[in-house]
């Protein structure tokens, strides 16, 4: 009988922007039946130190987990170690976690000698990725959840894998093993979290919808507190600058298609969103608003009191 092939590889490289899955990878590695050593690139780890650890533990079955591996300093010794490593030698497994979208060249080399996994962070509008995750997680927790219930859960919780996993665990406890999660369970157990983004506030302001802008801003404020001020002001600046550019080009008689090309925008969103917004304002008013935002920028980043009120006044002033 042929000997059973080991499931281990000398290198396991996980990289990407989604921390949830990278943390899961660490959890999974910790469960391996091996002695585990955890290191972190954020602690000033150098490649020479890492190689020393690897060589010290390569005699017995060991696993070394290096979190934030993209922050490990230097790569000369590491490169020599990776190049010299025999693929069949799995006495030591090096699990590399890179919390960045870009895979550094040195770790790309390591993944070519082992396993490489990308943990990409889905965009908030890529709802399929989140609903698929909900279904998989439900299976893992041994409960049943249908497609529309997953969508409802996502709507309630928002695109956040940590929170989705936590809410699912609560629901699984509530319905019991092999139970089915229904919409009623979701409404009963999950707290609805309204979401707002700074750019939405800016768009509402430019659309002169002061009511929506204020509501979105209060949601933002509820979620982030005083930290919401600077991103909102930044979003307002960006939006007003863009609108002023569009307005000045429209005033000069440049066609909408040309402006879209000039600004690198797709024709449809330009024609239906950006251009109508620009037509609601005249250039003089936009420049005046830019002046107001400059003052606001200095206020929110300085020692001014009642920063929230200042931002609200600016929102109302521009949206009126």
């Amino acid at each position: 009988m042929a000997p059973k092939e080991s499931s281990f590889r000398p290198f396991v490289v996980a990289f990407g922007g989604e921390d949830f899955f990278l943390d899961r990878d660490i959890e999974k590695a910790l469960q391996a039946k091996r002695s585990v050593l955890r290191l972190d690139g954020e602690d000033g780890l150098t490649d020479e130190q890492l190689v020393t650890f690897c060589e010290r533990y390569s005699e017995t079955p060991h696993m070394i987990i290096v979190d934030n591996a993209h922050k490990v300093k230097g790569d000369k010794a590491l490169r020599a170690f990776i190049e010299a490593k025999d693929i069949a030698d799995t006495s030591l497994v090096l699990v590399v976690i890179i919390r960045s979208e870009k895979l550094p060249e040195i770790w790309s080399l390591a993944s070519s000698k082992g396993k490489g996994v990308e943990r990409k962070k889905p965009k908030p509008w890529e709802t399929d990725s989140y609903t698929d995750f909900i279904r998989l997680e439900a299976t893992r927790l041994r409960v049943v959840i249908s497609g529309d219930v997953s969508a409802l859960l996502l709507q309630y919780v928002g695109p956040d894998f940590y929170r989705l996993a936590n809410e699912l665990r609560k629901l699984a406890i509530y319905v019991g093993q092999a139970g089915t999660i229904t919409k009623e369970h979701v409404s009963l157990v999950t707290t609805r979290t309204p979401k707002a983004e700074p750019y939405q506030v800016a768009e509402a302001v430019l659309a002169k919808d002061s009511r929506l802008a204020m509501n979105l801003f209060s949601v933002l404020y509820m979620n982030s507190g005083d930290d919401a001020n600077i991103p909102v002001v930044r979003a307002l600046m960006k939006q007003i600058e863009k609108t002023a550019t569009i307005r000045s080009l429209l005033d000069r008689g440049v066609s909408e298609e040309d402006i879209a090309v000039l600004l690198g925008m797709k024709p449809w969103p330009f024609k239906n969103v950006a251009a109508p917004l620009a037509r609601k304002h005249d250039l003089r008013a936009l420049v005046r608003h830019m002046g107001r935002l400059c003052k606001l920028d200095a206020d929110v980043k300085g020692p001014a009191r009642s920063k929230r009120t200042l931002v609200e006044l600016a929102i109302l002033g521009i949206a009126e």
Binding site: R284, V287, M290, K301
Partner: protein
Amino acid sequence: MLQQVQHQKEGTRFLRRFVEGGLTSPVLLVGNEGVGRRFSVLCAIREAFCVGTREPDCPCPSCYQILHQVHTDVFVHEAGEKDIGVEEVRGIIEEARNYPTAADIRCFVIDGADRFTLAAANALLKTLEEPPARARFFLLAESLEHVLPTIRSRCGGIRYTPLPEDFVLSELHRYEPNDAKALVYARMGEGSVGSAIRYCGSGRLTLRDQVFRVLQLALGKDLPSLFALIDTMDQDLVLALKFLDQVLHDVLIVRVDPMRVINSDRVQDLIAMGQTPTQVWATLAQKVRALRAQYRGTRLHLSFHLKTILIEPFI
């Protein structure tokens, strides 16, 4: 060695007292970057520590170590991109408590006394009030207004004046053989050899030309090009703001005294811009100066502020 320092009589006189052992209290040297503050302090320290000829080319170990910044009793601390924080100051205080190893005293040169965080400045107060017997402090600052008053009051003050244009030009000729360009760089340096050489070395006339272009675009109300050009300046915006200040100064004086303009190679452009009412340029110059003062030590969104003040007078 202090004789190497030129055109800074007050500074040299003050530092001479240190060399002769008569100055033990902390010293605050205020002046623009590149006017010779650090150079003169290091010259004074070399002269005080020298065990050789006391000439500028002295080969003694002390002089060699100070020149190569490896002397164990000379600490030069410089503010980088960030302000000087409390942890760094605590490190300096700790060092000041130790005895000197090679010389009789330890010298601490802190370049950026106007860039201490509040906590850092307060942490240093006690040490400046009663410095350890074998420690000497030299604080360097560009702006006296930005030095905490309690630090100011604990230090003897020396003001470094801008260097004469002839002197800067003579130094600059070593790097820039073209007279016209050398004159512009010298004037852009505003009395600072260091700044003039740096601008010359990094070819800053390109950035200056972009500043001219920015003003022309603002005059032409070409918002998209103006915004795009300002965005490309990105890392150089602070310097661009300084050049803008200088160009506006030139626009205002070019009709009255064309010989005094900083950008002497662009007189025709300056005259053309001067056709626009003086009031517009004066207001703009005032706003640019206010922005430069306001920006210091803050996290303002500089490019947006610059775009706004540039288009406000013309729209």
